[in-house]
Symmetry: C2
């Protein structure tokens, strides 16, 4: 592969001049510029980013570290991130932590070795703190995505869990639901904590007694099977929920499947709402009442914020972008209205 030396030789100028043409720096006469461009063309010269990085300390690569690209939420985040990155001249390396801190840790190591310019990261949970601290220690700019890490303030872009939960809950409560089960994510993930808190708040505000037996905790992963549905069904009828609140889309999908298997009809036997929307061509998409997070925008704005930081356009610390969810009222929760 041709280097600037080859180009310089062919164009009969110094390598430095070639460099200047490539980077459009300094003043160059039109004639030499043309000569150089011709030589570049002829040799099919392509600059070597590695060499440039050695000097500039910049790779023009950012890392998108998420838990699972298969989660439609993160798929959209990824798409938004890539679009914005491309627009700003960055490339995106992506990694899936699978909600596993150790895996996350290995990726962080690789990222550091690659000298990525920055990291946009959805932490696997509060225990990701040590991984993030490694970024801080190495002065890698980063923006946290979707989930806060307890006791670690930082630049962050996330959806408003509190608002989304309150609105979904109010929607249920207004319809007369009092026994609402919460199937939540793990308490070491901030979104789960916030959703639980808002859930409690909604009930208290409405003067509804909280029933601990309606609170469940599982995880946000797609694969996770749980028997919460069975447990709900086993409750004595005066305790059985009339509505279910699932804390994310995977939980919702799994529970909906189980409910169908058990012959429970939504919304006639039980109302159902959840956080996160589904693929536009999923039937759950047009059926479930959800608090849809602006996933694409989270990725898009996350990269925006990150690049601002990388390029020093912003000297603010701990910026916080909280995007409101969009509540989409659909069939799964509208039994009362329909009848």
């Amino acid at each position: 592969m041709a280097t600037i030396y080859d180009v310089a030789k062919l164009a009969k100028v110094s390598p430095m001049t070639v460099s200047r043409v490539i980077n459009q720096k300094g003043a160059i006469s039109e004639s030499t510029k043309l000569k150089v461009e011709k030589a570049i063309e002829e040799l099919n010269y392509i600059p070597n980013i590695s060499a440039r990085s050695l000097i500039s300390k910049s790779t023009k690569i950012i890392s998108l570290l998420i838990t699972d690209i298969s989660n439609p939420f993160f798929t959209k985040v990824a798409r938004g991130a890539e679009d914005k990155a491309m627009q700003l001249g960055y490339q995106v390396i992506f990694s899936n932590s699978d909600e596993d801190v150790e895996k996350e840790s290995r990726y962080i190591q690789m990222l550091l070795e690659s000298r990525v310019d920055g990291v946009l990261m959805a932490p696997s949970g509060d225990h990701s703190k040590k991984n993030v601290q490694k970024l801080i220690q190495n002065r890698i700019p980063f923006v946290i995505l979707d989930r806060e890490i307890e006791g670690l303030p930082s630049d962050i872009v996330l959806g408003n869990s509190h608002e989304g939960t309150r609105k979904l809950m109010d929607h249920l409560i207004i319809q007369g639901h009092k026994k609402i089960a919460l199937i939540n994510g793990p308490s070491y993930i901030s979104t789960a904590r916030e959703r639980k808190q808002a859930y409690m708040e909604s009930l208290q505000f409405a003067g509804i007694q909280i029933d601990e037996s309606l609170l469940f905790e599982t995880d946000y992963k797609q694969q996770t099977e749980n028997n919460i549905t069975d447990k709900l069904l086993e409750l004595p009828s005066h305790q059985k929920p009339t509505a279910i609140f699932a804390a994310n889309n995977f939980i919702a999908a799994n529970m909906m499947k189980k409910l169908t298997e058990r012959g429970i009809d939504v919304p006639n036997d039980v109302a159902f709402v959840c956080f996160d929307d589904f693929d536009s061509f999923s039937n759950l998409h047009s059926f479930l009442t959800v608090a849809a997070q602006p996933a694409y925008d989270l990725g898009y704005m996350g990269v925006q914020m990150l690049v601002d930081k990388i390029e020093g356009n912003s000297n603010l610390d701990n910026r916080r972008i909280v995007l409101p969810p969009e509540i989409k009222i659909r069939q799964s929760s509208t039994r009362y209205k329909n009848e």
Copy 2:
């Protein structure tokens, strides 16, 4: 950030010795090895891949160039690719061409500048040839994914469009369908060509006359709206299809939506089958009869093949892995059987 010089100084050895310890090359006494490792630890030394790349000509980064990560098919491909890459010590840069050659071309340029070790690429179509030739010209190892480029033999990993189509068609024909509409992708994409050919073949084999008015061409993109459904509905009743074959999941989803809007019932008014499966929590997933491509495996094996090539483990050219689709017979095409 610490360099090998810093480590060398602290460990009181030469930089070369440090390098040897890091790369486990040559013979080093246990004692100096320990000294060096301690210094590395203490300084939190992290090797600089850019510097290494300059010499080794290897970045340990591969590129995954697909059309759209939002397409569940490619989401799974991406997941498979990343898993395998991680396992082999590579990182993955991903890009979305949106089926646009020019965008693809810009990405190729960026990839070349980054000196990625190889490219796994789903071409936007036959016109991607010029982009792929740029890879060849620059001797970047690559593996083509999902779609062949006319007149450009290469290493390739793809699903068996012919087999999938034949099986879906036979399934329809056996049930007595004779008027089967084909809603195909663009003819400049190999999978569309193959699916059409197999469609024709199936009909001919069954002695069914081909009706050109049942053949449609649109594109594979999610956003594309088409009025094919309307056209089908406007056909005189003796020509109206009793079954619809959609050539990919996006086409299927769009058409299903339109059919629902028009009050057409699947499968009672018309049977429906398509290529590509849906998200496991999509309701179309448990409803539509599909030829599911092993998307995860395509990505996984694609990376496998690519890394083989990069690392020179294989001197074979134009290797071809064709993975069979899995036919999933579901409600959308089983009217006859159910009644």
